[in-house]
Amino acid sequence: MNKTINNRAWFLVLPVFILVAFNALIPLMTVVNYSIQETFGNNVFLWSGTTWFQQILHDTNFHDSLKRQIIFTGLVLLIQVPLGLVIALCMPRKGPWVSVCLVLMALPLLVPWNVVGSMWNIMALPDIGLLGKAINALGVPYNYTRQPMAAWFTTVLMDVWHWTSLVALLCYAGLVSIPDAYYQAAKIDGARPWAVFRYIQLPKLKHVLTIAILLRFMDSFMIYTEVIVLTGGGPGSTTKFLSIDLVQKALGGFDLGPAAAFSIIYFLIILFLSWLFYTLMMRTETK
């Protein structure tokens, strides 16, 4: 038996280990640490088992923000995915307008998140904002700082503005990669535009759409910055989503234990739902 004596090659893998440790394992383990112990500062920790987890799971605040989060993410997906797809289908495939469209579409993605929040905050103000003033001028009473419906409308609209481009660009990339022969064959087979979409474009876009839905799901489920700048979770707590709730617990109340348990539950929900989406969308593949 020949045994490898020189193990120095492991040093080459070391940077990756260190990187992963610092950006994932250690922070996550700190949170785990907090979630199962109680501390009063000075680095004194007391074992508390699953107390914090039970507390969070029975917390009506958590239930409410989870409900709001699910509705928000559901709305965002229902609007952005079809809208992005339609935009991608309408974008030109050839010619000088391609780059113009691509740049225009990419612009919202380049705006920093808190700037997006500020922009919409100002634009939707009922007395001086372009959007707010216009809606009120149409005779519809609109004030997102007081009406929950208006706040929701503005939040969803802001997210649609910010992120539909991502779905559109992903779909566009998928559409462009379909070989011309498919369209030619469809023409020869006498397929109508709807049939071309249903039997060629949609099946070919499946993977891209899976990615788009996953990305939009994860991102919208974790939304924080734009909402906190726009509505601050209000009016009342009508737009208080999970991340806002979490920050209030952790920083506002300094309840590190419950906040850590909250984080882990939050993380597990995202992990589980992402897995569920992925499995459901890929299921037909293996059949």
Partner: protein, 357 residues
Amino acid sequence: MAKITLASLRHSYYLNPKSDEDFALKRLSLDWQDGGAYALLGPSGCGKTTLLNLISGLLVPTEGKILFDGADVSHLTPERRNIAQVFQFPVIYDTMTVYDNLAFPLRNRGVPEAEIDKRVREIGEMLDLTATLNNRASGLTADGKQKISLGRGLVRSDVNVIMFDEPLTVIDPHLKWQLRSKLKELHQRIKRTMIYVTHDQTEALTFADQVVVMNNGEVVQSGTPVELFEKPRHTFVGHFIGSPGMNLLPCEVKGGKAFFAGHMVDAENVAAAKNSAHLEIGVRPEFISIGGSGIEADIVKVSDAGRYRIVETQASGSTIKLLVAEGESIPTGKIHLSFDPSHTQIYEDGWIAGGRA
């Protein structure tokens, strides 16, 4: 079912073509009979796919007309022209079963389901797809998918012409032969006009009754495989078809006789040759024999090709290849070559002397 006429057809991908160079397809006129098997043969980029797409209606010609049975179809959509096309890469509808794939062109045209079922089963049986009719099309191998593409063309009973754009490119070598004979068999059976585009001479010569050889956007010769072999109209055809291709030797014509490096060579069309042009003698390796007298040459290389050997010789600075049958001995040292006069032609500036009308 249709007779196809191409009347001084020309095509350019530029909006305002100026010189001849701008045309991907230079002026051409052809007549194709109903029910024939035709091949378009030529190297990549010679314009054969352009011609195919013009006939199918995926492109609109810059100039000229395309007639199906005398009716002008130049500006009709592919659907209205009623043609079928099989592409280089198999095109199938992934989410459908094989059955639905075959039924798709009929369903799009509103054919009643009972009729569809009959046609699909008939074509499925013809292409040996019966066992897989209810499987998902995406799970099939490349040749199975290509059969589906073909089947979608065959399923319509009123198709004018079926076109193949290098359909065997992605098929495994051992299946190529099978699929090729299947195509030939289908043609015999249904007698539909078929046009087959390829850069592979074996595919073209075995499939077609009439082969159209193209180069640089022009039709160089259109003829039966035998004509292309025995009497190439252009040195390009001589060189492109046959393996190895035709020998081309520089020559002079003096007093109605052709001379290669001082040796008199008898050629079939020597009387038609004019001395003004760049002249070449063309003779296929199959029609050269080693004899007691003739052109003196040195043997450079002998390669074994199974049934025969390819002998490469050098004579007065030109390479001459010839074939020697299995079992025949090859002399060493200086040899003398003689050409079969009835298969030796003179070419002027590339074109056969006296042959270009």
